[in-house]
């Protein structure tokens, strides 16, 4: 009986040890995943900016949409005259994200204004962090934009 008890105790100790090890492993893994280049962000603004505009997104890559989100889109007229757009992009995933983006500007008639400013640019966002991607319109005639975003496979 004592022996059985002892065995039972040993078993439960082993279970507890195993459970503790499992929990510790999970916590360590979670810390490791979250800690690998992740960023904690502090900001004071809690409401949309005055220049914030509504934007529509057509999602073709759901994975990209889940982890990379455009939080706010702002449009202003610059000192020089053309429009400027700023988009806050947040990385809600656990990994460092590299993505490329390109702005195409359109006039009031909806036609794309061909320009040397519309090029693919690459940027990175650490896990939990955010970045601001911005673009300046090629001329004063540009009234709207289209943004294309491609995420790196790595």
């Amino acid at each position: 009986m004592i022996c059985t008890t002892n065995v039972t105790t040993t078993k439960s100790s082993a279970h507890r040890a195993l459970r503790a090890t499992t929990v510790a492993t999970f916590i360590t893994a979670a810390i490791a995943v979250a800690g690998c280049g992740s960023v904690n962000t502090t900001y004071t603004r809690t409401t949309p900016a005055d220049s914030a505009v509504a934007a529509q997104t057509r999602v073709n890559d759901l994975f990209q949409q889940i982890f990379l989100t455009a939080k706010e889109v702002r449009m202003n007229r610059t000192k020089g005259g053309p429009m400027e757009v700023q988009i806050d992009v947040e990385n809600n995933g656990f990994a460092y994200k590299t993505f490329s983006y390109r702005f195409d500007w359109v006039d009031t008639a909806g036609n794309v204004i061909p320009s040397q400013l519309s090029v693919w640019k690459v940027t990175n966002v650490p896990s939990g962090g955010s970045t601001v991607i911005r673009a300046i319109a090629p001329s004063d005639d540009a009234s709207d934009f289209r943004l294309q975003l491609r995420q790196s496979e790595s």
């Binding site: 610059t78 000192k79 020089g80 005259g81 053309p82 400027e84 590299t98 490329s100 320009s115 040397q116 400013l117 519309s118 090029v119 693919w120 640019k121 690459v122 673009a135 300046i136 319109a137 090629p138 001329s139 491609r150 790196s152 496979e153 790595s154």
Partner: protein
Amino acid sequence: MLATRLRFVHPTRVIFHHTQRTIHTTMRIRSVIVLLPIALLAPVACERARYVDTGSPEGVITVGNVDMQDILKASSGMLESLAETGVLKTAKNKPAQLVMGEIVNDTSSRFDVGEMTYRMREQLVNSGQAAVVTTFGNTPEDKQAQEVLRREKFLKGETSEPLPDPDFSLTGKITQVKRSAGDTKQVTYTFRLTLTNLRSGLEVWTKTVDMTKLGNKNAVGF
């Protein structure tokens, strides 16, 4: 005797054949083990030539050289800054008259600086934001046009120099900072441009665009 020999030889041959077959099978398995990964990797290694958009992220990215993506990003950044500040709108001439000064490539990467400047010129001139003076100075870009202008001025009896009256001069420099840790290399290419008001001699606009690349081998982008 002969029969005995035959009987004796025959099983040996069978055994020999069997061994040979086993060796063949083993060799075949080994060949499959060796060739299978090669066959699987072959489509990756043998990438067929195809067209990609110029400056596309799909293009080749090198660690030790300035790539087309970098040039396009630099020219785009410069143009954005020029448009944003509206400095060209402050010129006396409408559109602003611009002289292309010297832009030095001070990097170990060999490329034509014109790849950047001509793209900028295309945007500025074709959109009517600026006009580039190609007949200015002692080393004009268009010597023939300058000669024609001088001849016409001479025939009209005008002696005052020069006919084009540019507002700004564009100069610049491209530099690099290279560092490495073990096999990993890091290089930062910095594109700097400066716009000088030719009437006041003062710098009225300047812009820096940085490009940092890190890795130990060149790669095809995504």
